[in-house]
């Protein structure tokens, strides 16, 4: 299982000072047997599960609350998905939206780390009968 290959997307939140280039150089410097691709949102890495996970835990240390990751179904450069081979990338709109919102999630993670208490959302209250009556009277007139 450990030798099974895995492809991971490493996504850097827009508020981070880390650049995709720095992430890629850092992963190269780890000296693991990984395929690495720099992308606009961060990087993609591919290799054995063990190497990928160890590299990921090292990368996360660069900026723990602003570096996010998920696995990817298709391998790097797969001709069915790679744009260089005119592949389609139907999931990118979602990734783009989530990438923009990572700055919010980062604030949530930092608040959770500090143990900040979160305000309960204002719940919509039912309109009191008296007020409803007044409205009806107002409309009637």
């Amino acid at each position: 299982m450990e030798n099974e290959s895995e492809t991971r997307m490493i996504v850097i939140a827009p508020t981070s000072d880390i650049t995709p280039d720095r992430v890629v150089r850092f992963i190269h410097s780890l000296g693991r047997q990984l395929t690495i691709k720099e992308t606009c949102y961060g990087a993609m890495i591919e290799g054995s599960k063990k190497d990928v996970r160890e590299a990921l835990s090292e990368v996360r240390k660069l900026d723990p609350n602003r570096i996010f990751s998920k696995i990817r179904g298709y391998p790097i450069g797969d001709t069915r998905r790679c744009r260089a081979h005119h592949g389609s990338r139907p999931g990118f709109t979602q990734l783009e939206k989530e990438w923009k919102d990572l700055s919010l999630v980062e604030k949530g993670l930092s608040a959770a780390e500090r143990g900040e208490k979160v305000k309960e959302p204002k719940r919509k209250e039912k309109i009191p009968v008296k007020k409803l009556r007044d409205i009806i009277e107002e409309v009637k007139e």
């Binding site: 290959s5 492809t7 997307m9 996504v11 996010f68 990751s69 998920k70 696995i71 990817r72 179904g73 298709y74 391998p75 797969d78 069915r80 998905r81 592949g87 389609s88 139907p90 999931g91 709109t93 979602q94 990734l95 939206k97 989530e98 990438w99 919102d101 990572l102 919010l104 999630v105 604030k107 949530g108 993670l109 608040a111 959770a112 900040e116 979160v118 305000k119 959302p121």
Partner: protein, 144 residues
């Protein structure tokens, strides 16, 4: 614990589940098996007649094939799930997660399993994000 996430390809949920020490069940894993299996060769999506038959376990024959096709991938993941996190009203209701009926069916299948489920709204602002992260953290830390 194995935690099923809805939307099943969400970066935010996948990361948070893993960050708080659990195994996310995502559609990427199911896709990976299909696109890297040398025995299956019907690009680009590799949905085989077998998959559609598998989908019948989760949705009746009168249900549109798109729903059955999706459930053929997501259904076996739901079977494995020990808990679930559902993000309500994600703004990207298109693409592979854009089928409203499938999403309703997934929620129904999850509820039928009687596993712990957390439903959180998609964060629109900072307060919403803080609330979402703290709820997810509390939920995942409580899973034993």
């Amino acid at each position: 614990m194995k935690v099923f996430i809805v939307p099943p390809n969400s970066l935010i949920l996948y990361d948070l589940v893993e960050r708080f020490g659990h195994e996310p069940l995502s559609v990427m894993k199911a896709i990976r098996e299909r696109v890297t299996d040398l025995e299956i060769d019907s690009p680009p999506l590799n949905v085989t007649p077998e998959d559609v038959k598998k989908g019948l376990k989760y949705a009746g024959v009168e249900v549109p094939s798109g729903i059955r096709g999706r459930l053929a991938l997501w259904g076996p993941l739901i079977d494995q799930a020990e808990a679930a996190i559902v993000m309500e009203d994600p703004p990207y209701s298109f693409g592979c997660v854009g089928c409203y009926r499938t999403n309703e069916m997934v929620k129904y299948l999850l509820r039928k399993k009687r596993i712990p489920i957390l439903e959180v709204p998609y964060p629109e602002d900072e307060e919403g994000a803080k609330r979402m992260v703290s709820e997810i953290k509390e939920f995942l830390e409580g899973l034993k």
